[in-house]
């Protein structure tokens, strides 16, 4: 069976959404996370080196920027994916597109 091709715009939209989502999740996974306890950031112990200066404002600010970027990217990616695959998610079997590459899949209605 010949696979129907997606329009380039839709295909790139999906690739873009997956990329946004993946980058957002990777940022979240790879960042140096500060623990939060009782609504207070726990500063990580600094490596034992003479002259080491802890700057709480910079550490907290960096964490906030990273988390904000990660959250926005992940949410934007997820919303993009939801829009891209809305027909699949809403259960319209006639489209039968694969979630990953958008290719048509077989239907059980035969």
């Amino acid at each position: 069976m010949k696979k129907p091709h997606l329009r380039p715009a839709r295909r790139w939209g999906r690739v873009f959404s997956w990329t946004l989502f993946a980058v957002g999740v990777l940022l979240q996974a790879s960042g140096p996370h500060l623990k939060i306890k009782n609504n207070v950031f726990i500063l990580p112990p600094a490596p034992a080196s003479a002259g080491k200066v802890i700057r709480p404002v910079e550490i907290v600010g960096r964490e906030r920027r990273l988390q904000l970027l990660s959250g926005v990217l992940t949410l934007a990616g997820a919303l993009g994916l939801a829009v891209s695959y809305r027909k699949v998610l809403s259960g319209r079997r006639s489209t039968g597109h694969n979630l990953v590459d958008g290719t048509q899949v077989a239907s059980t209605n035969s």
């Binding site: 207070v40 726990i42 080491k52 899949v105 035969s110």
Partner: protein
């Protein structure tokens, strides 16, 4: 064959959708918690006798509320104390300026000084552990005891 593939593909699509939704909720939830948490950070210390902790540099020209608490020593003796003060890292004066209360009835503490080792505020019960000036922009915790006890505690900063 077609039926067999379809029986795998359809659940896989929804499992993938659930994974995406769960990851999104986890990431956005954590980001939200980080963003709404107040401007407070706690530094915990464990210092051997004579040891000095890391240097902490508060934000410039912003009043910082500092509460410091000694939570105990490894010797098991009672050396718990608490104290608080406001401190400014003044870029105009190029020094730390502070005002607050010493631990354990130590009275008021106030001063301004950029000199290394200047006493700022005692933290513990016995007045052996204190905050000291490191330079014009930072301070550190010092355990001056000679009884072999390791001091444990925390310094919380709100700005």
């Amino acid at each position: 064959m077609t039926l067999r593939i379809s029986s795998f593909v359809r659940p896989a699509k929804f499992i993938l959708a659930v994974i995406v939704a769960a990851l999104t909720l986890a990431v956005v939830g954590h980001a939200t918690q980080t963003i709404v948490t107040s401007n407070s950070a706690v530094y915990t210390y464990t210092l051997n006798p004579g040891q000095t902790g890391e240097n902490i540099s508060p934000p410039a020209d912003t009043p910082v509320w500092i509460t410091a608490d000694q939570t105990g020593t490894v010797c098991g003796c009672d050396d718990v104390g608490s104290s608080f003060m406001t401190l400014v890292n003044s870029s105009v004066d190029r020094e730390l300026v502070w005002n607050g209360f010493e631990s354990n009835k130590g009275g008021l503490t106030a001063g301004f000084n950029p000199t290394l080792g200047t006493h700022i505020m005692y933290i513990d019960f016995s007045h052996l552990v204190d905050l000291e000036v490191n330079n014009g922009t930072s301070f550190h915790v010092t355990n001056s005891s000679s009884n072999g006890a390791t001091a444990n505690g925390s310094v919380t900063m709100d700005w």
